[in-house]
């Protein structure tokens, strides 16, 4: 490219002048042609990813006609990604569900709400009476509003008396949760997005931020534009748009991230690059069980057995991970590992690690999270502005709803767990129920929940705001299981027909996003509220209403005695968090602000947890205090976690690694973005990315049809040898948004034994010309 620096200054200055002259309105904008006068504007967080961009929603005649990136939102400061720009169209697909539908044989027949809810309540009652409360279940979502998640948890745990509640966040964030809990004894990050602007060294671990957290990636790139010292280093198993824009791309063999992080720690310890003072004050060492299995068998269980270690014992553990050994496993050159370790430890560098599904969807996901914290704890680069480990989330309220409200089988709000009698007591008190009502034993993680449905141990399952029969791994088994009959009853609430509604016995039409009032919590602990701005179409109704209606019909209506439901529920929910380092503000504060990062104490949000001067729970003189980890005297844990292989690795018969993930234009299973013509045109169908040399060997050309098979299933896709993502040799990548190409049929349903999160990034497949 021949653009000189001078040209660039010239152009920038001209553009700046132009922008100033037009009062901030930009030429070339599609909006310029659109009449936005007379619109009523309101605020909301974006419906899609965990970044949590603020948007302004423009309404005319009861319809959303425009959205804009909210210039007042500290998250995105006016910017969106391409999905956000099309938010105004996601609710208006032609096939929007507007009436309850009940299965009559092979047909879905329109019904009234009363009819549908009476049928559902009858099925719940019957199953509970015959088989007990653990035969009914609710499967929810990181796209549930806080209210929807809270109501579901309260009804199932506190009313019906079963822990059969799981969110799809089990499939995306569970390893992040167990990582936080085991290292710091409290979920969610210490840092915030400000770190993206203030640091200078960013290690991305298996995170394609340019496509999956685009606005955050832009903040990183802006930082680099202003500060030439900034380095972005992308560790990956696939060359992505992110790799392309990073300063360095380091490819590694799938699963060897565990070895790499131990290798980096090995060098830090070997060369005494660690922060001894920090370690003495703030760190304890532990080890857990090894060879922990893969969760492939039904009813798999695992309990770790943490044992304290000394620093010397930890050093002994690291001895194995010499740069040479790690290089052999991972394929990363020895010099690169040495250089990376030195960057991590460089006293003059503000180091951040960022990750998402590469670590979380991993059969050792909890370990991967522990190991990255190790690097920050060894070097003391944590809880400081501009230097932190940052776990990115995938869904708009994976944090706010599933993690904070605790809509997992084992959890209760504010980091509490059902296995702890005091926690049950506290929850029961706030909920006004008998503590004995909340069962002490967790039941099923998401995968196990659908295994139980397949076996027939669960009879009735209600799916809300998610699409499990496209998004579960080893789909064939769970899709078949759902329709085995014999008393099984599947209810799906959604806004469009999906691969899950097609398996339902009852489909309920839901309200979405600004068709209802809601609260989401994003990846930086920011809680964001919005009001209802338009009516849902036809007879579609809020999932919150649906859950409360079921409660009423089951005789648990007393659990929801509210008039202004959202506000009163919020004030009740807040009681869980108060004084726990997770404090939330009164409801009004969120209606007035563009979100606040918890803990919010005396109206003040917290940018950096555990850090004096920022976190009100840290006393003067303490500096840094991991105060939530009481059993280790307020210290964080460095874990000895070894490298262990994936559940299934390529072999002679299935010689390729399969990795699945997202593309920029589509979100999750594409049920909303797939209904926006512009997004569909920009990216229409899932393809099979593979390396040109592998293709050549197999006689596969760009655009030819390939049959991709694993031990669990097989699909035909178009080969893409030069797409935006480039597969490494021996690897293929397929996006999972495409409802016509159910790639998850091929994925293995192995999961991390600690977190229960499946590994969608690694299984073995073969390729043939189709």
């Amino acid at each position: 490219m021949d653009v000189s620096r001078r040209d660039f200054i010239k152009a920038s200055a001209a553009a700046a002048a132009l922008a100033a002259a037009t009062g901030g309105k930009f030429v070339g904008s599609a909006e310029a042609a659109m009449d936005t006068s007379g619109l009523k504007w309101g605020k909301a967080p974006c419906r899609f990813c965990g970044t949590g961009c603020g948007v302004l929603v423009g309404v005319r005649d009861g319809k959303i006609v425009a959205t804009k990136g909210d210039p007042q939102s500290p998250v995105n400061k006016g910017l969106n990604c391409i999905k956000g720009y099309f938010l105004s169209k996601i609710l208006y697909g032609k096939d929007r569900l507007t009436k309850p539908l009940i299965r009559k044989g092979d047909k879905m027949v329109e019904a009234s709400w009363e009819e549908a809810m009476t049928l559902i309540a009858g099925k719940f009652k019957e199953a509970i009476a015959t088989y007990g409360p653990d035969s009914v279940a609710i499967y929810g979502s990181g796209q549930w509003t806080v209210f929807e998640g809270y109501a579901a948890s309260k009804l199932f745990k506190g009313g019906i008396g079963t822990n059969n509640i799981e969110p799809n966040a089990r499939l995306c964030m569970a390893s992040a949760v167990t990582g936080f809990m085991t290292t710091f004894a409290s979920d969610e990050p210490m840092g915030c997005y400000d770190d993206l602007d203030q640091g200078d060294t960013y290690f991305l671990w298996g995170a394609n931020m340019a496509e999956c957290h685009p606005v955050l990636f832009s903040r990183l790139i802006d930082n680099r534009l202003k500060n030439p010292n900034v380095k972005i280093i992308d560790f990956g198993t696939r060359h992505t748009r992110t790799s392309q824009m990073a300063d360095q791309y380091i490819k590694f063999v799938p699963q060897t991230d565990l070895a790499l992080m131990n290798g980096i720690a090995h060098i830090i310890v070997r060369d005494k690059l660690y922060d001894e003072n920090f370690i003495k004050k703030h760190v304890v060492f532990k080890k857990g069980k090894t060879s922990i299995g893969y969760g492939l068998e039904d009813k798999f269980t695992f309990t770790d057995d943490p044992k304290p270690q000394t620093f010397d014992e930890y050093k002994e553990f690291l001895k194995l991970y010499t740069p040479e050994y790690v290089s052999k496993l991972s394929g990363v050159p020895v010099q690169t590992i040495e250089a990376v370790a030195k960057l991590y430890a460089d006293k003059d560098r503000k180091v951040n690690s960022l990750w998402t599904m590469g670590f979380n969807q991993h059969v050792r996901g909890t370990w991967a999270n522990n190991l990255v914290y190790n690097l920050h704890l060894l070097t003391g680069k944590i809880c400081k502005p501009g230097e932190n480990p940052m776990s990115l989330t995938g869904q708009p309220s994976a944090c706010g709803t599933t993690r904070e409200v605790g809509t997992f089988t084992h959890r209760l709000p504010a980091d509490m767990v059902v296995t702890n009698p005091e926690h049950r007591e506290k929850a029961a008190k706030i909920w006004g129920v008998d503590p004995k009502k909340i069962p002490a034993k967790p039941t099923y993680n998401a995968t196990e929940m659908f295994r139980a449905l397949d076996r027939g141990d669960i009879k009735v399952v209600w799916v809300q705001v998610t699409n499990p029969f496209q998004s579960l791994p080893n789909l064939n088994r769970y899709r078949k299981g759902a329709r085995k009959g014999d008393g099984r009853f599947v209810i799906v609430s959604d806004i469009y027909p999906t691969r899950s509604t097609e398996l339902a016995d009852v489909i309920l039409p839901s309200a979405s996003w600004v068709e209802k009032e809601g609260v989401f919590g994003n990846a930086e602990r920011r809680t964001q509220q919005w009001f209802k701005q338009v009516d849902p179409p036809g007879e579609a109704r809020n999932d919150l209403w649906q859950t409360i209606e079921l409660a009423r019909l089951l005789g648990h209506g007393n659990l929801f005695p509210y008039e202004y439901v959202e506000k009163e529920m919020w004030e009740e929910y807040r009681l869980f968090n108060a004084g726990q380092g997770k404090d939330l503000a009164p409801y009004e504060d969120y209606t007035k602000s563009r979100g606040l990062r918890w803990p919010v104490v005396n109206g003040k949000e917290t940018l950096y947890r555990y850090a004096e001067g920022y976190d009100p729970y840290v006393k003067a003189g303490e500096g840094i205090k991991f105060y939530k980890n009481k059993k280790d005297d307020g210290k964080a844990v460095i874990w000895a976690r070894p490298y262990e292989p994936a559940a299934e690795s390529p072999d002679k018969k299935y010689p390729f690694w399969l990795c699945t993930g997202r593309v920029l234009e589509h979100w999750h299973t594409g049920t909303m973005t797939g209904r926006v013509p512009e997004l569909r045109r920009a990216y229409g169908a899932a393809v099979c990315e593979l390396h040109p040399e592998d293709a050549k060997r197999l006689g596969i050309k760009q655009g030819s049809k390939v049959k991709l098979s694993s031990r669990r299933g097989s699909i035909v896709l178009t080969a893409d040898l030069r797409g935006r993502g480039k597969a490494e040799k021996g690897n293929v990548f397929v996006a999972f948004f495409d409802e016509n190409k159910l790639i998850n049929e091929l994925c293995i349903d192995a999961y991390c034994p600690i977190s229960g999160e499946p590994d969608y990034k690694k299984c073995a497949v073969k390729l043939e010309r189709a």
Binding site: V3, G28, E31, K77
Partner: protein, 107 residues
């Protein structure tokens, strides 16, 4: 990409990159003001895009308006494809301005 770096003035950045945050707005009127101030949504790209297109490739034309390309009003945002997706391909020209007989859509 880095060749641009030192060239940017803080002023250009604050105008172009990120709108300055005004006083907190709460009521409808304020939302309306914010909306008027906010940028419109970005146009899709009406010509063929290379799969790996990012700032370097796009700004080769859109920085100065070469080959009749509209000048980018915010050339400091270099992850162009984050906002500008592949649109309907209307022209018979590709991004480098050369005429092409037939043009295939990119998947």
């Amino acid at each position: 990409m880095k060749r641009y770096l030192p060239a940017l003035t803080a002023a250009a950045l604050s105008v172009l990159l990120l709108a300055p945050v005004l006083a907190t707005a709460a009521d409808d009127e304020a939302f309306e003001k914010d909306a008027a101030y906010a940028e419109g949504n970005p146009p899709m790209v009406p010509h063929r895009m290379e799969p790996g297109a990012t700032g370097d490739a796009c700004l080769a034309c859109h920085l100065e308006g070469k080959n009749g390309a509209p000048i980018s009003p915010h050339a400091v945002r270099i992850d162009c494809v984050q906002c500008h997706g592949q649109g309907e391909i209307k022209e018979t020209k590709n991004a480098t301005g050369k005429k092409k007989k037939k043009q295939k859509e990119i998947k």
